[in-house]
Point group: C2
Chain length 239, copies 2
């Protein structure tokens, strides 16, 4: 497994992202991995590494700049206030990662996917709404709301899959319904998978550190199932 | 591929179901396949055959008795009026198939799953609500409503996956929401997958014969994706 730090400017920040890849004889599909609101933590790094072991070139993307990781969820979300209010900032950070990944000779630039967790899921969706030339997006416990014009979804080229906890208090049914309408109106190839007995951060084994088990909790079942569905979507998108 | 007709009584009817299996050295998991409202048609038969080729023993179950297949959807649904009103009749027909399948020496009776399409999906869910000892249920464009007490869901032992078209006029968002509540309250291991650009009967290549493309239409993408998710659920349920 190779690991390399990629530095680039995005949204006025100096980003330090981590590239994972194994050696292949031909360029491989590239996957952007956007972390939870905390920033580029162990969870996102481990998922990028896992993707690399599956044959992808994976870039675990910096979120806050300088690879800053914030421990407290409330504080992390506070740092993102400007981004929730202005998707163009979110898109700029996401696009920085896309450019850096596409520039790599190990990557088949015609076969790029993006995944993200929590705010990182929102980031992957905003990247798609920006019209970026990507083939697939998977958002895990991904915020589905946007203040961008709904019509931005018309620009989506990617297949979209969002994987949501059925009891996630941050992504209530009304937000899911709005997202469905947005995707439907734009004729996107979309899928929404809802997992029972599941709340926020269900893919993160360290979720308990948030000390809010009613709202933020790891679920081995939903993690395994959603990861598998992601692989399935990539298989068809990159075939 | 072996094919055998199994005859049994259920809900006062003489059922003629079709068993598909290949030869194995040990008993294999058994899958019940409940057809769309039309009855035991080519679609359900082909899915049972496909399951047998994957290593399962699959019983494509008769619905109306005497293997009757009705061509007109409206007429078929009319024949089911009594079942919509009384889930115990639906359960009786479903249980007849379960008993017949479990009695076969080719089947590992401790590893049974059920799938169904349209009303057959409802049937597989009612089988689960009856408390039957089955490991997994997958409903494809499956009616989610029931007039049984919501508390019947407490009896569910199976993992439950329902695969629904996002634009299915027969399974509107409110019905999905009720189903979520039912599953949530009963602490079922449930999943609800919603497919964009998809209406009813999306697994049936012959759906066009209903001549209602706005409401009843085959979708190769959603068919392939949901079938794969079913396989995934069986893999974990029978591991």
């Amino acid at each position: 497994m190779n690991r390399e730090t990629l530095s680039y400017q995005a949204d006025g920040l100096q980003m330090k992202s981590e590239l994972f890849f194994e050696l292949h004889s031909a360029p491989r599909p590239g996957i952007l991995v956007y972390p939870e609101a905390y920033g580029l933590n162990a969870h996102a790094l481990s998922r990028a590494q896992k993707l690399a072991s599956l044959g992808y070139v994976a870039l675990a993307c910096d979120l806050h700049g300088a690879a800053l990781v914030v421990e407290d969820l409330g504080e992390a979300i506070k740092m993102l206030t400007g981004l929730y209010a202005d998707p163009s900032k979110t898109r700029a950070r996401a696009l920085g990662g896309l450019r850096a990944l596409k520039a790599r000779s190990e990557v088949d630039a015609a076969r790029i996917g993006a995944i993200g967790f929590c705010f990182g899921g929102t980031m992957s969706l905003e990247l798609a709404r920006s019209g970026a030339d990507i083939k697939a997006v998977v958002g895990f416990h991904s915020g589905l709301a946007t203040v961008a014009p709904k019509s931005d979804a018309n620009a989506i080229k990617a297949r979209v899959l969002v994987c949501i906890g059925g009891d996630d208090p941050f992504i209530p049914p009304a937000q899911r319904a709005d997202f469905e309408s947005e995707m439907r109106d734009a004729r996107v190839d979309w899928q929404l998978y809802v997992y029972g007995k599941t709340v926020h951060s269900f893919t993160n084994p360290a979720a308990a550190s948030a000390r809010r088990p009613d709202a933020v909790r790891y679920s081995p079942d939903s993690d395994r199932r959603s990861w598998h569905s992601m692989q399935q979507l990539f298989d068809e998108a990159f075939a």
